[in-house]
Each structure stands twice: as structure tokens, then as C-alpha cells.
Symmetry: C2
Subunit: 207 residues, 2 copies
């Protein structure tokens, strides 16, 4: 492995750019195939053809079909989380923050419907390595969210509860609603019931 100076690697040597683009195109192709043909129905060839690259190239970058699926999942979660944290930081108080969580969930799922669907389709059942990476992502997220909300709890704007219960209380209902919507169980989009869930979320945790 080459340990180049940290600053140089991130930017744009001709190859690293090409590599990033190729990986991205494979992931995009994979998502599209998974959506159209189902995760199991998709073959490496389907992805490879759609991404315009060779089998060798795919295996070089992802190691296995499962590797593609994991990357897509972890990458998607990470992006979702990042956006969430960004939204939170725009908020002024506890209530606005809690409502922002629900709102962001609705917006993001509507905007990235296919990816959202994919993220919902897998949740447990990963390789040891992917599990570790997921746990890491998850912990970073929890830490960021915790940092944001802790002062509100301190100040009494939000109730004091077991630490692991906040996320389920706030986002559980909207998440479950979105899951059902994405599986085609109901037709009313999340944006139209957003208020109901935002109210419930705030109610569940307000001081």
C-alpha cells in the first residue's frame, strides 16, 4: 500500500479520479439492477454490462457481489446520516430539531426513493467486516446526534430517557411508515403524514 501525503490522495490525480468514477458507476448500475431485477435476480454480468466494465475490474474493486451490496448499503447510510446531521445543525431549539429529523426522513426517502428502498431491504445479516464498518458509522452518527441533543436534555427542554431509546422514539414511526410505503402497502406518501409523525416524535421526548 502506498502511503502518500494525506492531502494529495484525496484530491485529483488522474487515476484516483477515474477509479472513483468507475466505482461510482458500478454502484449506480448495481442499485438500478437491484431495483429492477431484485437483489438476488441481479447477476454480476447485469451490473458489469450496465457499468461498462469488465468482471475483473469489478472484482478488483469490490471483491464479491456481496461486496458491492455492502458498499452500496454503507455508503447510502453514511450519506443519509451526514445529511441528517447537517440539517440538525441548522436548527435553533429542541422542538425544531426533533421535527427536522422527521422532515428530513420524509424528504430524503422521497428524493432518493430507490436507494431508500434498498437500504430498507437489508438491515441485519452482513459479513463480519461490514458489520464492523456499519457499527462504526452508526456510532459516529449516534455520537453526533447525542452531542447535538444533550444540551437540550440538560436544559430540561427534553425528557431524560435511556440513551438508546431516543432514536427509536423519534424516528421509529416515520421510518416504519416509510418502509411500508416503499413496499407498496399504502399510497399516501410520507410528506402528507409528516405532521402527524413530527407531532408524535416531539410529544414522545419533550420535557
Amino acid at each position: 500500500m502506498t502511503v502518500s501525503s494525506p492531502s494529495a490522495s484525496s484530491a485529483g490525480s488522474p487515476r484516483s479520479v477515474a477509479t472513483k468514477a468507475r466505482k461510482a458507476s458500478v454502484l449506480a448500475a448495481a442499485l438500478d439492477c437491484f431495483t429492477r431485477l431484485g437483489t438476488d435476480g441481479t447477476t454480476i454480468q447485469d451490473i458489469q454490462r450496465q457499468a461498462n466494465c469488465s468482471i475483473g475490474s469489478i472484482y478488483h474493486h469490490f471483491g464479491s457481489k456481496e461486496g458491492i451490496a455492502e458498499e452500496l448499503f454503507l455508503d447510502g447510510i453514511a450519506r443519509f446520516n451526514k445529511g441528517m446531521v447537517r440539517q440538525l445543525k441548522k436548527c435553533q431549539d429542541a422542538e425544531e430539531s426533533v421535527r427536522a429529523v422527521v422532515g428530513y426522513y420524509c424528504d430524503w426517502s422521497t428524493r432518493h426513493r430507490e436507494l431508500a428502498r434498498y437500504l430498507h431491504s437489508r438491515d441485519i445479516d452482513f459479513s463480519t467486516d461490514a458489520k464492523a464498518r456499519l457499527k462504526r458509522i452508526h456510532q459516529d452518527y449516534i455520537a453526533a446526534v447525542f452531542l447535538w441533543f444533550a444540551p437540550f436534555v440538560e436544559a430540561g427542554q427534553m425528557r431524560q430517557l435511556p440513551i438508546d431509546t431516543y432514536v427509536p422514539l423519534i424516528s421509529g414511526p416515520i421510518q416504519e411508515y416509510v418502509r411500508r410505503w416503499l413496499s407498496g402497502h399504502h399510497n399516501i406518501g410520507p410528506k402528507q403524514v409528516r405532521e402527524v409523525f413530527a407531532d408524535a416524535a416531539w410529544n414522545a421526548v419533550k420535557g
Copy 2:
């Protein structure tokens, strides 16, 4: 197809008993393999060996590996739902009913931990046929639950809300908590946070 008298088929002709037993043993073996080796990591041979039967037998009963997975899923959901409805019918009023939903979720997931884990690991992404069967199971459940709760809404004990929001509001948080617990994200079992979620559920829908 033989159309025997309806009453006779359900009970216990020597063959139908043996068949039921074999199917059950395959499903049990499958669940165990899925738990130990992961859904993808499990081969038909693994299941076949553990269930002590031949490949032909498995394919005769389930048609495909996916068929086993679907049967396990649908059967599990159906049993969960049935138990839930039974619990509900023991309740006297709205609040007790709502709390019972959360309680049942905790108990069942703890008692049938492996099956619960499996049910959480798949949620979308089924064959057309399985989707139809799932929808049917789902509708029956919703109908039963709706029948139970409707009078309470009428009587003003529970709030009037968009029909599809009740289930996510009541069971979303505990479900999300259990999912995280089953994936190993936190160590405190659902029974220890049951009250928090029961309170929140009742709060979200009380009149």
C-alpha cells in the same frame, strides 16, 4: 387435484401428518442454518442434511431455496400476528390494548429471538407470489386490529388519525428498538425499556 371432504384433510391421515412434520423440520433446519451461516451462506445441502431428507423432497415441498425462505417468513409473520390478535382480545380498554401491543412485541421477540431476527432481516424484495400472500396476511391483520380499535376511536378514547398511521405510531418505536437490539447495537433487552415505549405509544394515540 383431489378435493377431499374439507374436514378430513386438516386432521391426521398418516401421510398428511408425516408431510407436515417434514415441512416443519425443513423450516426449523433452515432457520437454524440462516442464523448460524447467514441467509446467503446457507446451502440447500446444509438444510437438507440437518433436516435429514433428500434434495428431491425439499424441492417437492418448497420449489426453491427462496421458497423455503418465503415460507419461513410468511409463516412467522402469520404466527406473530395471530398471537398479537389473541393478546388484544384479552384487553378491556384502549390503553390496555395499546400497551399490550408493545408488551407482546417485547415478549415475542425475546422468546423467539432467532425467528424475530430472521423476520427483521427481510422485509421488502419478494417474489410476486410471496408479495401477494404477504399482502393478504397483512390485510387480514390490519382488518382484525382495526375492528378491535375502531370502537375506542369512536368513543373518543383514542384520537382520530389517518388510518395507516396507527400501526407505525404504536409499534414503530419498539420495533425499531428490537431491530437494533437484534443486530447487536445495544445490550439492554427490550423488556427493560418496555415501559418507555408503552408510554410513548399510548401518548401518541390517546384521545
